[in-house]
Amino acid sequence: MSENVKVVENATCTFCGCVCDDMILTVDMDEKRITKSKNACILGKAWFAEHYIEEDAPVAMIDNRPVSMEEAVEEAARTLVNARFPITYGLSDTTCEAQRQAVAITDTIRGNIDTTTSVCHGPSGIALQGVGESTMTLGEVKNRADLVIYWGGNPAESHPRHFGRYAVTAKGMFTPRGKKDRHVVLVDVRRTPSAPAASQFIQVKPGKDFEVLWALRALVKNRRIDPDIEEETGVSLETMEELVERMKNCRYGVLFFGMGLTMTRGRHFNSGALLALATDLNEYTHFVAKPVRGHGNVTGADNVMSWQTGYPFGVNFSRGFPRFNPGEFTTVDLLAKRDVDAALIVATDPASNFPQAAIDHLANIPVVCLDTKATLTSKLAHVAFRTSTYGINTAGTVYRMDDVPITLRKAFDSPFPNDEEILTAIRKRVRELVLARGQARGATGVSRAAAPLQ
């Protein structure tokens, strides 16, 4: 380790949706590495320790051939403008400033924009629209919540500081003794490492969450439920009645839910049932619900998409105005149906985690990819940009899982441009090309021409 060391206080970890902003990073400025990350959890420590910059990697490539930044921006813009059904996808691991540019590009090229929300809490987005959301910030949970229920998630392994910083052992204004002032319930299909942190574990048979939530709703409304519910769901009527009493009589209750609900049979109806349960309980006490989000700025992606287009994900601009229809305009569905003829992929690697039919189509169309490292997607991309990492080499804004915006402080510089700079350059060029095409047809503003650009 060299003598040239810099300490960055109040840095932010953008690994998961907790977006902890109390990191103290020690940076070896000669090696360009983070050697110590105080306050980080095991995931955050790995996020910082494994961060390194491949300084000799090309900033941009066309068909895996190194090119200049200008050349790559030109090719990316032409690829997108020439497409009839281009998609933009990813966006959950970049700043809100970059997300704005991606929305603007998609609007100009009349494409389809979707984020990784559609493969994690997208069903919750549908449910929020249908049922509504009784919501809060995590600060309120820390200070007030005396009943905390985790449903279909395993925060001990996915969000390790969620317990300590906000919801279980955190000491707050009305919860001065931390865990002793709270009753914590974990509901899941198997006993996970989160179970020891909970006061009570309720095991539901796989695929029966909706039935249990629906029965709880009925009990909250004083409707009769048959005792044979235990045979179907694995949860006895007595346990449910006791939980309902606890929920009705708490001072401030919170339901956190994870992908155990959103990505199992029933999907948005599972999330919807839980949100409706929280709403029902407000007849008796204050009760809130919140999805526990994964990626560092996936909540920001939902927020930026919502305030720019009116909808959180799965938005299509083909007709010049935004339309929302999950199932039709969500990326996996579009790729699997081979409906797409170009793709702009920002800060995600669908070629490594999508269904095979979707990956096969991605390999057959021109892809423009922005990522901090070489990925399977960047390898199959027509145009690939190398970018700097948000939160470590790039400042900006991200949203924590409770929709609280947090400003990032960068630890040290990267030789690579950030997503916002590249997307801004592409947006400007895309706009010029679309305007030129419109003017060639006699139009005065941004307009469409039938023939593809030469």
Binding site: F210, W214, K221, R223, E232, S318, E328, A449
Partner: protein
């Protein structure tokens, strides 16, 4: 003589053909029809780029092609006339239609007759998710008319339906009649799980036994008077066994988390 639209080119990307309705084609000659616009992805093209038109519209449009799966919004918003389709069709068939008839000799996919208020759709093959449903964010789905599907359908059939009739010859997926407000859904085959979740009123009828949610309770076994009338109406399209006409039905009421005024009737023999 009907207007024949025969597909001459396959779309590369999804196509939105909401001009293919009797309302837009009335009084138009074949050449005029070919000049009408449709959306091919984000570009505006004309019907003639993808279809050859012959004849003239006399109340019937014949649509034929090998690759109509990407053609969306056929018959959207139509109020009269008939569309006959040979081949599999794309999403949003008959979206928001108020009258007229669509006959498909092939399969349909998701969103058949969403938010329709009248008219008739008959699919000889299968249909997808959200048949006769509300669009996301809307509180009311189909309000009138009828949808008949000879094959199977997938999830959320009749989501937030408020009137009309949906009849499925085969099986349905999960959440049939979810958030239903009124209307009737017949499934001659098997129902999926979580039928009628959140329903306020309306009737869901199946000829097979089905798993029901804990918020539905058994009322009685009886012979509803209207069943014979409905089944005789359906027998014009489907093969209805004699015992269904004469049989008894188990009645379950729900959903108790809502008004508890909906009913699920299961054939009891």
């Amino acid at each position: 003589m009907p207007l024949l639209l025969r597909q001459i080119a396959a779309p590369d990307v999804p196509m939105e053909a909401d001009n293919i309705t009797p309302d837009r084609l009335t009084g138009q000659g074949a050449a005029d029809v070919e000049r009408l616009a449709l959306m091919h992805g984000s570009e505006s093209r004309s019907i003639g780029d993808f279809f050859s038109a012959t004849g003239s519209y006399d109340g019937i449009i014949d649509l034929q092609g090998d690759d109509l799966k990407r053609v969306k919004f056929i018959g959207a918003g139509m109020s009269r006339g008939t569309i006959r389709v040979e081949g599999d069709v794309g999403e949003h068939l008959g979206a928001g239609m108020g009258g007229g008839e669509i006959l498909v000799n092939g399969n349909a996919t998701d969103w058949v007759g969403p938010e329709m208020s009248g008219g008739r759709i008959e699919i000889h093959g299968n249909a997808g998710h959200l048949t006769g449903s509300a669009y996301r964010g809307a509180s009311v789905g189909m309000t009138g008319g009828e949808i008949m599907v000879h094959g199977n359908v997938r999830n959320e059939t009749g989501n937030a339906m408020r009137g009309g009739l949906i009849a499925i010859g085969g099986n349905s997926g999960d959440f049939t009649g979810v958030n239903m407000l009124s209307g009737s859904i017949f499934v001659l085959g098997e129902l999926g799980i979580r039928t009628g979740a959140g329903m306020k009123r309306g009737s869901i009828i199946s000829m097979k036994d089905a798993p029901l949610l804990p918020t539905f309770s058994y009322s009685c076994t009886y012979r509803p008077g209207y069943m014979t009338l409905y089944l005789l109406h359906l027998s014009r399209v489907f093969a209805i066994a004699e015992e269904y006409l004469q049989g008894s039905y188990k009645r379950y009421c729900g959903d108790s988390v809502e008004l508890n005024r909906g009913e699920i009737l299961l054939y009891a023999g």
